[in-house]
């Protein structure tokens, strides 16, 4: 039975216009919060808002029901202005049970909208959330605008007439009822979600019907209940003209890789081992065989790295994707890739460490790992994405660097970027820059082939097996300059070590100079990298608007640094480096430029809030 996409009546209640709002949906990890969060995001983006999201979920797939450990949340900020973060404090919170309430309510602003499923506050539910009294009754929620909704009953009532639906399936639609209510509250259109339901559950008509009914019933509940006397409206944002879609970080990364392969005339090979939060890259690429993508789910992280090197030797665009623990295992093979001087991408989607750490939480604590985590002198270029959409560009830039300089390139992302989403201006494929790649053929005069002869970029030739006359052997033993033969000569080892370092250092001449937002000299520079881009940009803008002398430089290239970085740092009295680690970029910058910089460091598995960064800026300038 097809879904009816009939438009709903316009709300008869009054609306209040807001610049933006931050909403979090929180429930059990099995409650489908991520699904409805994604839908709310997509619908808000289609509405024309700027959006930024922060999904936050436990490592366990289904932690014990109703417990604090099992709470899964999805936060989205949507606005009629440019935004860069999912928001600091919540304007509205939906809590599906007491555990979701207690773990999230402290982020809700005073006077904020709090919607709870009042039927999940039975004594057993309270006990699971370790509550002694019922917060719906003990006055602890008095400072919020509390809406107690009998979600279980209302939802069951809405879907009761659908044939073939068990009571547990009825209850599974609750999230769509809650979504419908939120859609009413913020004046959102149901159509995109109805299309999603149809596409996702199309083979099960009773599920399609149930979710549709629950969604509509939620909307009508908002419209008819006296509890809500007005709804809110957030007007479309003034984004750059063009066609947009919503895109998640890992998706943008996978698409960027496919695009880079096309632009360089290469077939894409991805050898990876499943690991949170990087698995979606392998999953996404596995579905793109019609783009000539070949994926191997390797037996382990080491094999995935080695398979990528094998594919690179064979002439493919070779990629491996992982996270910190996997990168640790790949280390030895990364060193081989480095000394073989073959192009490939090594993607590290960072998560909370050390060891297994916090698999589903975000952190930036692998910078020193990718910079130094190999034996011997083993420099590799490092490029970091700053936002979900930026992953698309960074993938292409990383491949451009890899092929021009014949080197593995490390691409850093993180859990926050990977799972977050934002509106993405769809590029015109014809306007994307080509990535030229050349392979040598045997010289006509029969000169012997020199596999380690270098060009102006200090890159050696990428000679492919199958090419007559270019047979050569590469390996992990030190090789003689030019010939590539095994060499234990002391002078040669020094020379080759210098060459490999110089080759990476020269990339600085080939990347843009570092730009600064704000005055080109002054009291304070905020220097950031990776996924803290949004929080730092917003904090600096806010402080600049308050008249403070502060500028912002956000690094994409971490090795080598942009060639003007040292000079740039000198232009400010003080430099602040906010990082979700204990000071890794700070260490590199201080060592490289012998310049004292101040850190703002946090490892709590969560991104910076804007106010954390802004407060630090004010403190330093105060």
């Amino acid at each position: 039975m097809p879904v009816s996409i009939e438009p709903l009546p316009t709300s008869s209640k009054s609306t209040v216009v807001l610049d933006g709002a931050t909403v979090r949906l929180a429930g059990d990890s099995g409650d489908g919060m991520q699904v409805v969060g994604g839908q709310f995001t997509a619908t808000s983006a289609l509405h024309g808002n700027d959006v930024a999201t922060f999904p936050d979920f436990p490592a366990e797939i289904r932690a014990p029901r109703g417990t604090l450990a099992g709470v899964s949340g999805f936060q989205v900020q949507f606005a009629s202005t440019d935004i860069f973060t999912p928001g600091d404090t919540l304007n509205a919170l939906v809590a599906m049970n007491p555990a979701a309430l207690v773990t999230n309510v402290s982020d809700l602003e005073k006077g904020g909208i709090l919607i709870v499923n009042s039927e999940s506050f039975e004594p057993k539910d309270l006990k699971l959330a370790r509550l002694e009294t019922n917060p719906l009754e003990d006055g602890s929620l008095d400072e919020y605008r509390l809406f107690k909704v009998r979600l279980d009953t209302l939802n069951r009532e809405a879907v009761k007439d659908i044939e073939g639906l068990t009571s547990s399936l009825q209850d599974r639609c609750k999230n769509f009822f809650a979504l419908g209510l939120i859609y009413w509250l913020f004046g959102r259109d149901l159509a995109a979600t109805l299309r999603f339901v149809e596409a996702k559950f199309g083979t099960k008509p009773e599920i399609v019907a149930a979710n549709e009914k629950a969604l509509r019933a939620g909307w009508y509940y908002g419209e008819t209940t006296e509890a809500f006397d007005h709804s809110y409206q957030v007007e479309p944002a003034q984004l750059e003209p063009g066609t947009y879609r919503n895109i998640m970080g890992n998706q943008a990364l996978a698409w960027g890789l496919i695009t880079a392969a096309k632009l360089s005339g290469k077939e894409l090979f991805c050898g990876s081992y499943p690991i949170t939060p990087a698995s979606p890259v392998l999953e996404e690429l596995s579905a793109f065989k019609h783009f000539n993508v070949r994926t191997v789910q390797a037996e382990d992280e080491i094999a995935s790295m080695c398979s990528a090197i094998g594919a690179a030797f064979g002439g493919a665009m070779a990629v491996t994707s992982s996270s910190g623990p996997g990168i640790a295992l790949k280390g030895e093979a990364m060193g081989l890739g480095m000394i073989l001087e073959l192009p490939m991408l090594i993607i590290n989607i960072q998560r909370g460490g050390p060891s297994t750490g916090l698999p589903t939480k975000t952190e930036q604590s692998d910078l020193l790992q990718v910079m130094f985590g190999r034996n011997g002198e083993s420099p590799l270029p490092i490029i970091a994405a700053r936002s979900p959409g930026d992953c698309f560009e960074v993938a292409q830039e990383a491949w451009r660097v890899a092929t021009r300089y014949m080197t593995p390139v490390i691409l850093l992302s993180d859990g926050y970027i990977a799972n977050g989403s934002e509106p993405w201006l769809i590029p015109s494929v014809d306007e994307l820059p080509q990535i030229p790649v050349e392979h040598p053929v045997a010289s006509a005069d029969g000169e012997p082939f020199m596999p380690y002869q270098r060009n102006e970029w200090l890159a050696r030739p990428w000679a492919l097996p199958g090419t007559p006359g270019l047979m050569h052997r590469v390996g992990g033993l030190e090789k003689e300059d030019v010939t590539g033969n095994v060499s234990y000569d002391p002078e040669n080892h020094q020379h080759m070590t210098n060459l490999r370092a110089e080759r990476v250092a020269r990339i600085a001449d080939d990347i843009p100079v570092q730009e600064v937002q704000g005055p080109s000299k002054g009291k304070l520079l905020v220097l950031s990298w990776g996924g803290t881009y949004g929080a730092c940009t917003t904090a600096v803008r806010r402080c600049q608007a308050d008249g403070l002398s502060v500028s912002h430089a956000h690094l994409r290239y971490l090795n080598p640094f942009p060639r003007n970085l040292g000079e740039l740092l000198e232009a400010y009295d003080e430099v602040l480096v906010p990082e979700l680690n204990m000071g890794q970029l700070r260490l590199l910058v201080q060592a490289r430029y012998v310049r004292k910089v101040v850190g703002l460091n946090k490892v709590k598995g969560k991104p910076f809030t804007v106010s954390e960064v802004a407060d630090k800026i004010r403190q330093l300038l105060g």
């Binding site: 289609l46 063009g242 879609r245 698409w255 496919i258 019609h290 080491i302 094998g310 097996p465 052997r473």
Partner: protein, 339 residues
């Protein structure tokens, strides 16, 4: 126009590098047989890639005038997997040893075999760590006294053929470094097999484990202590072909041919048996248990090759969905336009 392939000789496969194995090492013989075998395969040198790990045997690629990767310890099968997945046109050889392939690289060996890529894995088994100067290896027998096992090794050894057959390798064979003709024949069969070929070569390390395989190489005893497998033939061995192997239930036993038993009572070798149990049983015939050890092809069956199935999927995806188009990918799903 017809292009004649140049006729290659063994010497054409020698690289310009000096071979640096110890004088008297069994590796020389394997290298010689490889160079002798390759010309007969009709594959141009530039289409051949040798990939090795770390260890004495793993220096092999440097000595071949083909493409080659001397990789890292134990991982050669994983490099081969990536290479073959994107370049099915190449003939890929993996050269490994007992330590490289079964200890540090056991996992990769197992997975390469179960994927059944069309590659050839040659394991030089000398039952010792040679390059690190004489520690016991995963194939060293219990009680083996080495620098790291002065009172004798206490690890139960792995048996390469049993491992390979346990992973359902589609081609499994064994030869001996000094059985020159036999070795050449086995390498040739391995190369011709479509799928992963696993070849164990008994290889003497004359410096750290000299004589480990005397029981199969000694002219006096080898016919009693080895059994040369022949497809479709009964398992007969002995200087005068006077003994054989029969099955007593599920147990193999040695019988004297004569009044009581004739060749028709013996186990008949069937390398093409799809069910790997008999091949596994052969792999368990061991000298230390009083059996002659099988030499030759234990198993040769046909099964789909990983890279071919991968290509089939790529082709099917293109047929079903059309050649991937970035513009339509980017514009798929929900989009909106800002003017």
């Amino acid at each position: 126009m017809r292009t004649e392939l140049p006729v290659l000789k063994a010497a054409d496969f020698a690289s310009d590098q000096d071979v640096r194995w110890c004088p008297g090492c069994g590796d020389y013989s394997i290298l010689a047989q490889m160079k002798k075998t390759l010309p007969s395969l009709g594959m141009p040198r530039e289409k051949i890639v040798f990939i090795s790990g770390i260890g004495c045997s793993s220096r092999f690629p440097y000595y071949m005038n083909t493409y080659g990767i001397h990789s890292i310890h134990g991982r050669a099968p994983a490099f081969a997997t990536g290479l073959k997945a994107v370049r099915p046109d190449l003939m890929v050889w993996v050269i490994t040893g007992d330590g490289d392939g079964l200890s540090i690289g056991g996992n990769h060996l197992m997975h390469a075999i179960r994927r059944n890529l069309d590659i050839n894995i040659v394991m030089f088994n000398n039952r010792i760590y040679g390059l690190t100067k004489g520690q016991y290896s995963p194939t060293s027998p219990i009680g083996k006294k080495t620098k790291t096992s002065p009172m004798g090794a206490i690890d139960n050894p792995l048996h390469p053929l049993s491992i390979a057959i346990g992973c359902e390798a589609t081609f499994v064979a064994r030869s001996v470094d000094t059985h020159i003709k036999h070795l050449g024949g086995v390498l040739q069969r391995a190369a011709e097999h479509r799928g992963t070929s696993f070849v164990e070569v008994y290889q003497n390390c004359n410096v750290f484990n000299d004589g480990a395989f005397d029981y199969v190489t000694d002219r006096q005893t080898k016919s009693d202590q080895t059994i040369e497998l022949e497809h479709g033939a009964p398992l007969v061995f002995g200087k005068n072909r006077e003994r054989g192997i029969r099955l007593n239930g599920l147990e193999p036993e040695i019988v004297e041919l004569g009044d009581r038993y004739s060749e028709s009572d013996l186990l008949v070798h069937d390398e093409a048996a799809v069910e790997p149990s008999l091949a596994y049983l052969l792999s368990r015939l061991r000298y230390e248990d009083g059996f002659p050890e099988p030499i030759g092809v234990l198993r040769a069956v046909d099964a789909p090759r990983y890279e071919e199935v991968l290509n089939t999927q790529v082709t099917a995806a293109r047929d079903q969905r059309g050649e991937g188009d970035l513009t339509s990918l980017f514009n798929s799903g929900e989009t909106w336009t800002v003017t």
